[in-house]
Symmetry: C2
Amino acid sequence: MSVPASFSVPERILMGPGPSHVPATVLGALARPTIGHLDPEFLALMDQVRDMLRGVFQTQNQCTLPMSGTGSAGMETCLVNLVEPGDRVLVGVNGVFGTRLAEVARRAGAEVTVAEGEWGRALDPAALEKAAAGRKYQLVCVVHAETSTGVLQPIEPIRQLADRLGALLVADTVTSLGGVPVQLDARGIDASYSGTQKCLSSPPGFSPVSFSPRAVAKLEARKTPVQSWYLDLSLLLKYWGQERVYHHTAPINSLYGLHESLRLALAEGLEARFERHRKHAAALAAGLSALGLELLVPAAERLPPLTLVSVPRGIDEAKVRKYLLEEFSLEIGGGLGKFKGNAWRIGLMGASSTRRNVSLCLTALGQALAAQGHQASVSEALAAAAAV
Amino acid sequence: MSVPASFSVPERILMGPGPSHVPATVLGALARPTIGHLDPEFLALMDQVRDMLRGVFQTQNQCTLPMSGTGSAGMETCLVNLVEPGDRVLVGVNGVFGTRLAEVARRAGAEVTVAEGEWGRALDPAALEKAAAGRKYQLVCVVHAETSTGVLQPIEPIRQLADRLGALLVADTVTSLGGVPVQLDARGIDASYSGTQKCLSSPPGFSPVSFSPRAVAKLEARKTPVQSWYLDLSLLLKYWGQERVYHHTAPINSLYGLHESLRLALAEGLEARFERHRKHAAALAAGLSALGLELLVPAAERLPPLTLVSVPRGIDEAKVRKYLLEEFSLEIGGGLGKFKGNAWRIGLMGASSTRRNVSLCLTALGQALAAQGHQASVSEALAAAAAV
């Protein structure tokens, strides 16, 4: 066969739903020499990564580790380890990732109850309670940060509901970890999974997962084996723990990158990082409104790292994204699920959450809209953003 | 929490059971800027990677793609997609990875028959046929290249047996792909999975998988959903195919590395690459014998990329590996499973398979043995290797 040439990739401004911008020091870390996955130097790195993950998850959970797969592998990890066939699982669904949680739970053998919520709005705990219909549940699952809609879910009332149902609480923190507080311990989240390519600004490839002692106890009390060998935490904890029992070969260079990105997050300080995400999201929102664009999530329920924007009538949304990519090498996301074709998703995650990116995105979007005959003043948008 | 310093890693000579040496151009590829997983430039790269994987797998299988996980995720992919609850699966077990195949098949709901073979020897097709006891099977699974023992399994007789049993044939090619011929099409292998960190010399993180049209037909005829959402090939083919339906976020930078490593493999030429692996393995074997060490696999059944060496009586095997690591920054592997504590595994995989590494390993091993009072002439070992 003919061998393709060595490729080159364009330098993009990444303002979609992930991946976010990967800083140069993280890219540099990826390129360090590969060493063995049982090398003493690598084992020391693994321990540091686990410690730093506890830091960003805001937890003391011993069972905290990066799974060797992407965010969806982390979702599946939580469910296959915690679900035994016939367990009752209540899932709040207000977006693509809630839908996925329900599907993965079913495939794990759960008896799933779906509480449908409105896409683009936070879940109403009362609706979940109604769907539960007085039954006891083993698990309640919600998405803390819905990447398909840009909604941030308040966890406290869901925790209270889970207590009433006798359930453990599982929360998807893929697009919140490192960008908004997740506070696993303070909020009583029993199991959570995330991704590395959102607010942590590492390339995709790992899913950080954390289980509370109660979740570990459920795992240890299982009567049936975990259906996935690859995602079986009882085996993985022996590899990531003191025993170092070989399970699989961890993605070594990717872990170098994760180490560096966690270092950057913690060195910035979590509170400062959350404030940065909040501030730039508010500036973006003000600028988008000044461009005459409608934000689809009420202000109080917005997820700072990801903003859902309605496509104005008469605008070809795919053409706008193409314009941004070609003229500005700027990526924003299209809508997903119910918002496919009628919304954009603009990410300000991790290293992508900067003042410069807010200004650039408003400028580019204003020009793209003008190119389709939509009146919009870039100057006013920039002024509105600057005033935040 | 205190933030750890940016880490540094030692430069090792990697001659264990994987990872192998990752060339500088592959490391450099990892560090290229991250772009979106649905970026047109990334989609083009995905297509090239799939084409090149078909090249190294020696197949025309349309269903050929890298799974976003390590080799064990690939094993699980083959089994969860091809097994429906109650399917009969015959597994030949002559090492750790055969044992794992049986375990993963059980967790996928299969009725598993294990045909035990001798560790360190190829499987005897007659023993598999005897274990089958006249029943029909849906799958026959064997390990083409047993990473725990360094045995290369002849596939042809296993294929003939699978035909008699009415079964599809699954073969683990983790440590053969890119180092010895796998010839999926010529040998009639219906499903195979591999790793990137062995003879392809990319960092770990992907598992290349390939399904024949017959295997795809079995997948498409399923009556039950695949138990793993993350590994469900019917969904993944829509992401990796022309439809580009979002499934998960592929590990972008890792794919850059895989692209470059596949390019290097194909540019070298598969036949030249196989010959290089064969030649250096033969030189190593001659040198090890000259050092007075016993190879545990008969010459005709040896896997060139990995050599199993008996630890001489009176030698502390872990101390030898520590000596190599500390004095030579050279990694070899310990034994696994039945060979734990009594064998070493020496890898000459991908970019690690060089004349220089053969000489260095013989030198280092000779000195390590001498340090424990074992008489061994490095000069004779080097001469024996050079004579091959």
